[in-house]
Structures are given as structure tokens and as C-alpha cells.
Amino acid sequence: MIARMAAVLAVLTGPVWAEDRVNDWSKDRGKDWVALNGAELQAALNGTTLQYDIARQVFYPSGKTLYDNGMPSWGNWAVRADAYCSQWPPQDGWTCFALERHSGDGRLRFVSQTGAMTEGSIVE
């Protein structure tokens, strides 16, 4: 039994799967978060740096954006209607997200059409 349990742990742990965790994207949805319109979105992101859990992203006024989670990548960002849109070479397509601001502490979060969220804090 002990050997079998050890085998279970050996399979479930280790470098490849050590990062497993549960996401709860519905958490706090709609509570204290306010969707930004296009003008607010532009003002919020233009020249802004956001700090995520494990990454940082800079939104340059030129329309370039640098995302760095240890492997820096450059993309393009734009505001289209009331959405944040980004494009990341070598892919051509643009993908758009809603942007919401926490009414209390000003955190920002991107919300995909499927409800997936990424939350960041503004780096002063």
C-alpha cells in the first residue's frame, strides 16, 4: 500500500505537474468590478505597467506591448470600441477582451469572451 501511494505521488508530483492548481474564474465576478469603456480603457492602459501574479506587462503608447513572464514577448495592443485587443506575432489575428477596474483598489482585469480572467495591479 505504501509503495502504491508513493507511486501515485511520483506520478502526480514532479516538475512537470507541480504547478497544478484550481482556477475559480467566477470568483468575485461582478462584485466591485466595473467595466471600462473605450476611452477609459485607453486612459487606463496607455503607458501603464501591470503586475500579474507571475508576469509583468507594459502597454506602450506606440501600440506595442511587452509581456514578460520570464520569457519576454512583444505584441501589439489597441482599443476597439469598448474592448482591449491584442495581436502577438507570428500569429496575425487580434483577440479582444473586456477590461474591468476594481472600484476599491484600482486593480485591472482582462475578461475573455468565455469569462476567463487575468488580474493585474498597476505598477506606480
Binding site: 504547478e19 507571475i54 508576469a55 513572464n69 520570464g70 520569457m71 500569429q91 489575428g93 477582451f97 487575468t118
Partner: protein, 141 residues
């Protein structure tokens, strides 16, 4: 030459079935669940997997995994959630394979996209305390 599907073709939900064959103990594990490829605001797709794992007669347990699949000039770069490189999927073939070394263990994966949109990932993991094969089968949910 046939190529693997475009990264954008993976977007959405997939039914996932996994069989784990532990060659050290002879135990077998099975996982049934769902995998989703979700657009990232920073490009590429988040791979999010949730399922129930039954392993070697132990009570079923919830299991989750999460990776990042990023477009790369020659295919798809798979990262861990924290951005560390995991492996590269070469895009110019239907059955790409790759290695990931994490001493003292070796992880080898073979993808099979020949029956798209049904596809498989076969992992072989070998190390001093690990010796197992893991077959993950995906079909559109």
C-alpha cells in the same frame, strides 16, 4: 507536407480521457475530464485541464493542470504557467515529438494529430523513481 493544426484551431473545450500505466508498480490510472484552450490577453492560449483521477485502487481525486501554448515561428512553444519553457511542438508535421529534461527524470511526448479533430498526447516518463506511460486522448466536447 502535412502540418499540425494551427494554434487557433485548438481554442475551445475538449473532452479528455487519460490512461496512466505505471511500470514500476503495475498500477493503472484513469482520468476523465475536460481540457480547455482559452485565449490569453497576452497572446497564445491557456491550457486548463480539470478531471477526476482514479489511480491504483485509491479513491478518485480531482486533478488539474495548466500550461501556456504560445505561437512560435516553427510551431507551438509550451510553457509552464510561470513562463518556464516546457517543450516545443514542431509545426511542420502531424506527429511531432519533444523531450523535457528535469534531472533526474526524462519526459518525452509524442503528439498525434493524424485524426484531427481527435488527437492524442503520449507521455513517457523515466527516472530513478518514475517509469510510466500516459496516453491522453482529446475530442471536441
Amino acid at each position: 507536407m502535412a502540418r499540425m493544426p494551427d494554434l487557433s484551431d485548438f481554442e475551445g473545450a475538449w473532452a479528455l480521457s487519460r490512461v496512466i500505466e505505471d511500470r514500476l508498480t503495475g498500477a493503472e490510472g484513469r482520468l476523465t475530464g475536460q481540457a480547455q484552450f482559452l485565449p490569453r490577453h497576452a497572446g497564445g492560449l491557456d491550457y486548463v485541464e480539470e478531471g477526476e483521477l482514479s489511480y491504483g485502487g485509491q479513491p478518485p481525486m480531482a486533478a488539474t493542470r495548466r500550461y501556456i501554448w504560445l505561437p512560435a515561428p516553427d510551431g507551438v512553444a509550451v510553457q509552464f504557467e510561470d513562463g518556464r519553457a516546457f517543450h516545443m511542438i514542431e509545426g511542420d508535421r502531424l506527429m511531432p515529438d519533444a523531450n523535457h529534461h528535469c534531472d533526474p527524470d526524462l519526459y518525452h511526448v509524442s503528439y498525434d494529430f493524424t485524426r484531427w479533430p481527435d488527437w492524442q498526447a503520449i507521455w513517457r516518463v523515466v527516472g530513478p523513481r518514475k517509469d510510466y506511460r500516459m496516453l491522453s486522448s482529446y475530442s471536441r466536447a
